[in-house]
Symmetry: C2
Subunit: 248 residues, 2 copies
Amino acid sequence: MTAAAQGPVTAAVLVIGDEILSGRTKDKNIGYIADYLTAIGIDLREVRVVPDVEEEIVAAVNALRARYDYLFTTGGIGPTHDDITADSVAKAFGVGIGEDPRAISMLLERIRPEDLNEARRRMARIPHGAELIANPVSKAPGFRIGNVIVMAGVPAIMQAMLDEVAPTLSTGRRMLSATIRADAKEGDIAAPLKAIADAHPDVSIGSYPFSEDGRFNTNIVVRSRDAERLEAVRAAVAEMVARLHAAP
Amino acid sequence: MTAAAQGPVTAAVLVIGDEILSGRTKDKNIGYIADYLTAIGIDLREVRVVPDVEEEIVAAVNALRARYDYLFTTGGIGPTHDDITADSVAKAFGVGIGEDPRAISMLLERIRPEDLNEARRRMARIPHGAELIANPVSKAPGFRIGNVIVMAGVPAIMQAMLDEVAPTLSTGRRMLSATIRADAKEGDIAAPLKAIADAHPDVSIGSYPFSEDGRFNTNIVVRSRDAERLEAVRAAVAEMVARLHAAP
């Protein structure tokens, strides 16, 4: 990682693909990227899913790249007619796009020259000014232009591309978290939990209900970039929960 | 379902919750709602995930409700301090919010009067003018205001609420689909597939790579609301694939 930035570093994810919106494919990338960015000190602030429609992709890319430090896109960079992400990103930036000789070289590491047909050459179409992101899985590269990182939709390839690009990103102080299992329903801890939250406005406290063996339960998650503040609030929550269970 | 609408009926989903963006919770609602809406004849056109921040929720609700026939939200309607969806939706609509006696009655079906504390009463805060959506799982209702349907984030509860509200929705002609397994790499079918797509601009053809036993393969998905058009294009794709494998 490059040196930690002063303030939080923010990001958005844009998932591109009709197949996610139709339900045919269940997205596995959002949760993976969320975990990954949290672990390296980048705050994921927004996710959008849009169809394979140029104007929708262009509008979402421009809205999100203006608002966050990084935008990660997944999907739409293969060789078929419905893969329009590279062209849409070029349009969003107002730059040209063409066959990139570096990308052709990468494709030729895996594809025999006689198999490098017109469709496969489409995977070497890269917006002008972009840097390539190596794809150790199937060679066809992703790319980065400005603060936008364009990756494949196939999870194994997306994950490899994220590993490639991560060392080049600015990161902030990592968000730390602690989870306290309440063994109580949300409605029974809400008031004392709100009192703790009000007393510690600098620390984020989330309450997440779940059911187990047919009974509702709650996980309380405390989050802070400051280890001492985290521990202070974690201890306050744990004490509150213990008090609750000790009550007659 | 009410009578089928003339044109397609469109929808967006707004997932509300810090826990999805941090990666702590993996969303299971987007894929479920996508499948569900496709099956009843509503086109899911966009998904957004935003944090538990009022101005973000208000902005997303207003952007999405203006653009699509329906907006489904998940998350943020529990009893704790971080559950701010109902207040945010009221703000988005510019209406008041208060304790709804119908919602209190629903809560009392499950909660003893002496346990109906201030926190649990928060779950009865409903924007003025909203209709309630029954919650057969844990009683605390969702609600519908205008074209916005506000549901819980816990999957079992969200699913029950979707079942409650679905019969009241307008639906369009169902999108039909057929999948052809190519047993070929995308790059080998892209050109003939594009020719079929160009010849049938009224039918959507998607190409989805996957890997199996370490080899890349492709599913081709044909989608149309017209069963005859679907079958014509499905047959054309299947014939193309057969021709490809028959080639020397």
